[in-house]
Symmetry: C2
Subunit: 146 residues, 2 copies
Amino acid sequence: MSEESLSQIELEMAVLSRRIASVARNKREENLVRAAYLLLFQISTHGPAGVKGLAEELQLDISTVSRQAASLDQKGYIKKVPLPQDKRSYLYEITEEGRREMTEYQQIRREKVDELLSDWTEEERAQFGVLLKKFNDSVKVYWSKG
Amino acid sequence: MSEESLSQIELEMAVLSRRIASVARNKREENLVRAAYLLLFQISTHGPAGVKGLAEELQLDISTVSRQAASLDQKGYIKKVPLPQDKRSYLYEITEEGRREMTEYQQIRREKVDELLSDWTEEERAQFGVLLKKFNDSVKVYWSKG
DNA sequence: CTATATGATTGTATCATACAACTATTGAGT
DNA sequence: ACTCAATAGTTGTATGATACAATCATATAG
């Protein structure tokens, strides 16, 4: 019944959390810092944005986004575009190099997922992708409420 | 095709990782430290074990398990059982209080998952649970190889 | 008996995060 | 126009979960 699925999801989420924590401290980083990947992705898909807007969209603290952005900026993957009407803020826009780097990083990640799921059927992959997205969407809503 | 599922999983895993990191730093802790939950679970389902064995099973560094176990021990959720034939090591076994605490924590987590997935069908939950477990299993194998 | 291996602990570093304090700029009310 | 509150962003500090390296105590092999 329902209870069983709940238990399973609850447990497997704990397992996955643990694994993710472990991966995060373990992996030698390439150029693109893992955490900043989604920031770069956000800018690349939704266009230039300021720190505040990015933080809201990603549901992260402004200070966190500020640091991630500074790091991407320093690597030349994004650059500040000043706003004439407000000298406090700017928009970050992705650079050519940033787009290249993101694509490359994505490709590496995809290959890893592919390898990881090498014994999965296409149907399983498709289902998992859809449900995982649905899960994240649910979490996002839950988060924004309380 | 396959590419699309891969991309989706790759992206949504990044999103989930980020969220998990955020939850980890955000949440006020109850009695049971989040990370130690799986350690307690392992002992509760597989019986008494030493630090080394637990670390292997959980694929964590021995030092990490040692600290988590010390924390659970200090809270009275597990206790050391000396081995007469080897004074270096002991087995940790779960206490009554530990079992109670674990069950309670589990229950709270399940309720949260239930709330989170309130608009999911039973079929979706079941599928997600199964696929999530399969994913974790795949990761575990991948990890143990390289 | 000594040297090496083993189980566990402890010291230290790291990463991504949040919260709090701060800086610079803007805008509103008088 | 001046002051004071609001706002965008940065920087300081703390935290949790981890890994790796050094160490300690005990056990075992030669």
